[in-house]
């Protein structure tokens, strides 16, 4: 019969264009949305608020920079940079051992631990903040407060950032260790290493890019943290105000320009983070 022989000819004539066009249109809409958001921020600052249209790059630049010179905002920039750096370092400190443990060892209750690590990722941010607030009202929490005041102070900012950002760092480190063949540690152990020596000498040097990625992801999450900080640390100017709080405070008093200026500053930070991630990720993709 000729029916099966005809089929290939019929198949060949079908075009792939609609499929690819579908991918491009749907994907392009989203990419366009992101670009449009950032472009709109920049355009807003460059446009004369009096409605006379574009009043030049210098005036636009001033609208971007002048709000950032306000002492409250400068304080927020400083606190954001310092608290995010501390959070990133703490997160890597925890993520490396925890990620390695989850990647290499089987133990009772591993599934439970795995789920617990995901809790900060899936929990609504305000709930994280509220839970921290309540934790520090319990007797052990109060005991800590007597030594170091946490709630509504700078340690609360860092703890709020850390409790969410660290979960992302742990995920990153776990994937990093999963991608490093355990065979190399095994060989190292036959060559004379203990498990610890094999980790320090063989695994950790190879995980370097993963650690940079984990630190960067944690830093970026910490910078964007808002809900938990608002609830647990408050939004007191010159005290617990970070950049995301600034946007909220400036918006709430109707100072849209300052809010946009700070937003653009955070966009800039995000771009920097992306550059670092690409660089570190490129390294691991080049990997061997």
């Amino acid at each position: 019969m000729s029916a099966p022989e005809q089929q290939p000819a019929a198949r060949r004539s079908r075009s792939d264009v609609p499929f690819v066009a579908g991918l491009v249109v749907i994907g392009g809409l989203y990419v366009g949305l992101i670009v449009a958001m950032v472009a709109a921020d920049a355009a807003y600052l460059l446009t004369d608020p009096t409605g006379k249209g574009n009043d030049g790059i210098v005036a636009g630049f001033n609208r971007l920079v002048l709000p950032l010179a306000k002492p409250e905002i400068r304080y927020a920039v400083k606190l954001s940079l310092v608290s995010c750096a501390i959070t990133a370092i703490l997160s890597v400190w925890v993520a490396v051992p925890l990620g390695y443990l989850m990647s290499r060892y089987e133990f009772r209750g591993k599934g439970f631990v795995d789920a617990v690590i995901d809790v900060p990722i899936v929990l609504p941010p305000l709930v994280v903040g509220l839970s921290l607030l309540i934790l520090f009202q319990t007797p052990p929490g109060r005991a800590v407060e007597r030594v170091i005041p946490v709630t509504y102070a700078i340690p609360a900012v860092i703890l709020a950032q850390f409790s969410v950002a660290c979960a992302f760092a742990v995920r990153t480190m776990r994937v990093t260790f999963d991608q490093i063949s355990p065979r190399r540690e095994q060989v190292a152990r036959t060559l004379g290493c203990t498990r610890g020596q094999a980790f320090w000498r063989v695994v950790l040097p190879e995980a370097r890019n993963g650690m940079v990625t984990a630190a960067t992801v944690a830093w970026a999450r910490a910078l964007g943290e808002f809900g938990p900080i608002l609830v647990f640390a408050g939004a007191t100017r010159m005290r617990t105000e970070v950049l995301s709080t600034t946007i909220f405070l400036e918006l709430s008093v109707g100072n849209l320009e300052a809010a946009v200026a700070v937003s653009l500053l955070m966009v800039l930070a995000a771009v920097l983070v992306l550059v670092v991630l690409r660089w570190a990720g490129g390294g691991s993709a080049r990997g061997w």
Binding site: S181, R183, R184, Q186, V187, A188, R189, T190, L191, G192, C193, T194, Q197, R201, V202, P205, E206, R208, G287, W288
Partner: protein, 216 residues
Amino acid sequence: MIAVDGLSLKMGAFAVEGVSFTAGTGEYAVLMGRTGCGKTSLLEAICGLKPVRGGRVRLLGRDVTDLPPADRGVGYVPQDLALFPTMTVREHLGFALEVRRWDATLAARRVEELTELLGLGHLLDRRPPGLSGGEAQRVALGRALAFRPGVLLLDEPLSALDEDTRAGMYELLRSVQRQTGVTTLHVTHSRAEARALADRLFVFDKGVLRESSVDT
């Protein structure tokens, strides 16, 4: 000497029960078996990387069944070689010596010896991504032999090499073994390799290990 006595292992879906064999000191023993028959697990058990359920492993007359891999004195070359991507060839050769706290002068001399033995002179400052299959193989061999282990375990060491390189490696493996006197257990699924290298041949089939004549 490698003496495995009544070794039992559990590996995922199936188990190996009561495997025994002995290879004398300085012998080149080849263990043949089909892919997935448990050869690799058996090597890992001898290295101490896989817990055994029963039986004993003795190396050079010493019962090592309960020792950690570091204390067994075994040079191990896994099938995928598992070279360390962040280290140069020189660092690979010196790795075991550094971990075992060899005197620096002695270690340097040993690295030099291995470089010559394995023809690695022009590669010392390269890292694994810059090595060909045969070169990587020689580096893995050098790394395993550096601390002068009494026993060398090779897991399908030639399977990833092309024909010409393989023929060269036969000779190299033979001459290394002659020069060092290391007792070698070489796992493979290739009859040609067994014929080219083996002093003694063991065949592992359906969980049963028996000695076979090299010539057949």
